[in-house]
């Protein structure tokens, strides 16, 4: 069953000439990482806030796991959806442990269960357990955002809404948190709706990107499709479709190895600098150009899982370019 189905969702704020969100319909499957992308005022945040009913739709309906959202008590609906916003959303007067425990407490979990959950979540997001007793202000921006992520995950919701959670962070911290969010997502398989206006962030994180403009969805497709087949000049401009290096940096080694028509080599020659399945092809290309024909082994958890050569890379690129030529 689909995790989320939106049917002609519309939000018209009083006194505005245009609806902020205009008859939007889409479907999200369980475990998908969806990024809502668009310029400010395009309606992406409004759409997100309709999902946890901070804004009530003017018209249209949406269903969570098949149930009409209007048929659920609004607080119950919100408690089963994780919610993370920019770090201002942490409660400054509550300690880190109390911040993380908010939703489990609302749900009436036992103290033992909550305490164990706080430890597990701090481990998951890479924060030391000593941080339990600190206040948000005593943490750096990146650490605060990790707490925000832990708090959104606290009651183990199937779906998470994230409203520009990394927007206020410096570029290095943001990239590191993106990596960790992806790592967590590979482990937990949440359904995530993630709002950003940062195209790089969207292309890195998303399984599918929902490009919005003036309250409408312009294109809803995987990052590679967005680059190869932009359905609209707006999308092409947004993604800078001709940038080959960017395209490479968006494809992981894992995806290239899984490319149809290529047998993964399992030849056991050891390299000094193995690749990781999650590395991007831009990095792979740099390394491949220095080692030459025999290629590089791909190692995951200390085990070799394939060998990537320049031939692989060319095949992937040929297909991507082909896709681009069809439009």
């Amino acid at each position: 069953m689909s995790m989320l189905v939106a049917d002609e969702l519309t939000k018209q704020f009083p006194g505005e000439s245009q609806p902020a969100v205009d008859a939007v319909s889409f479907t999200v499957e369980p475990g998908e990482f969806i990024v809502l992308l668009g310029p400010s005022g395009c309606g992406k945040t409004t759409l997100l806030k309709m999902i946890n009913r901070l804004y009530e739709p003017t018209s249209g309906r949406f269903f969570i796991e098949g149930v009409d959202a209007r048929d659920m008590p609004v607080t119950a609906l919100r408690r089963r959806i994780g919610y993370a916003i920019q770090q201002t959303g942490l409660f400054p007067h509550l300690r880190i442990a109390q911040n993380i425990a908010v939703v489990p407490r609302l749900l009436g979990w036992s103290n033992d269960r909550i305490e164990a959950r706080i430890d597990a979540l701090l481990d998951l997001v890479g924060l030391p357990r000593e941080f339990r007793q600190r206040y948000p202000r005593q943490l750096s921006g990146g650490q605060q955002q990790r707490v925000g992520l832990a708090r959104a995950l606290a009651a183990d919701p199937a779906m998470m809404l994230m409203d520009e959670p990394f927007g206020a962070l410096d570029a290095i911290t943001r990239t590191r948190l993106q990596d960790e969010l992806m790592a967590i997502q590979r482990k937990l398989h949440k359904t995530i709706l993630f709002v950003t206006h940062d195209i790089e962030e969207a292309l890195r994180l998303a399984d599918r990107v929902m490009v919005m403009k003036d309250g409408r969805i312009i294109q809803f497709a995987p990052p590679l499709m967005l680059l190869a087949q932009p359905e609209d000049p707006f999308v092409a401009e947004l993604t800078g479709a001709s940038d080959l290096l960017r395209q490479l940096s968006l494809i992981t080694v894992e995806r290239a190895l899984a490319h149809p028509g290529l047998q993964p080599s399992t030849d056991e020659t050891a390299d000094l600098t193995p690749l990781h399945p999650q590395d991007d092809l831009r990095l792979a290309l740099t390394r491949l150009l220095s080692v030459g024909d025999e290629g590089l082994v791909v190692v995951e958890d200390g085990r070799m899982c394939g060998r990537l050569t320049l031939n692989h890379l060319q095949a992937v690129l040929r297909d991507t370019a082909l896709l681009g030529a069809q439009r």
Binding site: N52, R78, Q86, P92, V102, L106
Partner: protein
């Protein structure tokens, strides 16, 4: 000066029972006025913050109330309410209302909107948002309002002696009537110490309420 204080202390020793009765009355009067004001202003301030557009007039009106001198409030109350404890209590309550109400209102409006929305988005009910998020975050500002009111009420309760409500002001009026500065000091010094003490105590409470910021 030291000599005068010595004489005042001698007067206190000779009139201990009377002193502590008036001291108790002064505290009761001030404490009751503050307590009633807090009980009135908390719900009223919460309502005002939730209806900020229409409540603005109320807040402005209450603000102008502060311009009326406390002595005038006491004497204005007398023809209608007579003399004694009740009219003094009412006058002091009117004096304490504005700073507390305005600070409850301003404190709640000052809570960052994004924080309240996060609480709402996580599934807190309106009451949980108020009790767990909004009031604790507004607490330092509310305490500042109570501190201002407490100092004002304790020092103004001196005037209650004029309308027969007793309190430490008794010693000041008596000393004044008899041209005996030492008797005036028996009232004035404890009042000053009480006002100072409440200021320090509530200031400490404010620091405790903002300890998470350091």
């Amino acid at each position: 000066m030291i000599e005068l204080l010595g004489e005042a202390y001698a007067y206190y020793l000779a009139n201990q029972t009377r002193f502590w009765t008036e001291f108790g009355r002064h505290l009761t009067l001030s404490g009751a006025a503050l307590g009633i004001s807090i009980l009135v202003c908390l719900p009223l301030g919460i309502w005002a913050a939730r209806h900020a557009a229409s409540a603005q007039y109320l807040i402005n009106a209450v603000g102008t109330l502060r311009l009326v001198p406390s002595l005038a409030i006491l004497f204005l109350a007398q023809p209608y309410l007579g003399t004694g404890f009740t009219p003094a209590l009412i006058a002091l309550t009117v004096l304490a209302l504005p700073p507390i109400l305005i600070n409850v209102y301003a404190g709640l409006l000052g809570v960052e909107r994004a924080i309240v929305e996060a609480a709402q988005g996580m599934g807190m009910t309106v009451q949980q948002q108020l009790l767990q998020i909004e009031l604790p975050l507004a607490l330092p500002v509310i305490l500042a309002g109570i501190r201002i009111a407490a100092v004002e009420v304790i020092s103004s309760a001196t005037l209650a002696a004029f309308i027969g409500a007793g309190g430490l002001g008794i010693f000041i009026t008596r000393g004044f009537a008899l041209f005996e500065p030492r008797i005036m000091l028996v009232g004035a010094v404890p009042i000053a110490l009480l006002a100072l003490g409440s200021d320090l105590l509530l200031g400490q409470a404010e620091r405790w309420a903002t300890s998470y910021r350091s």
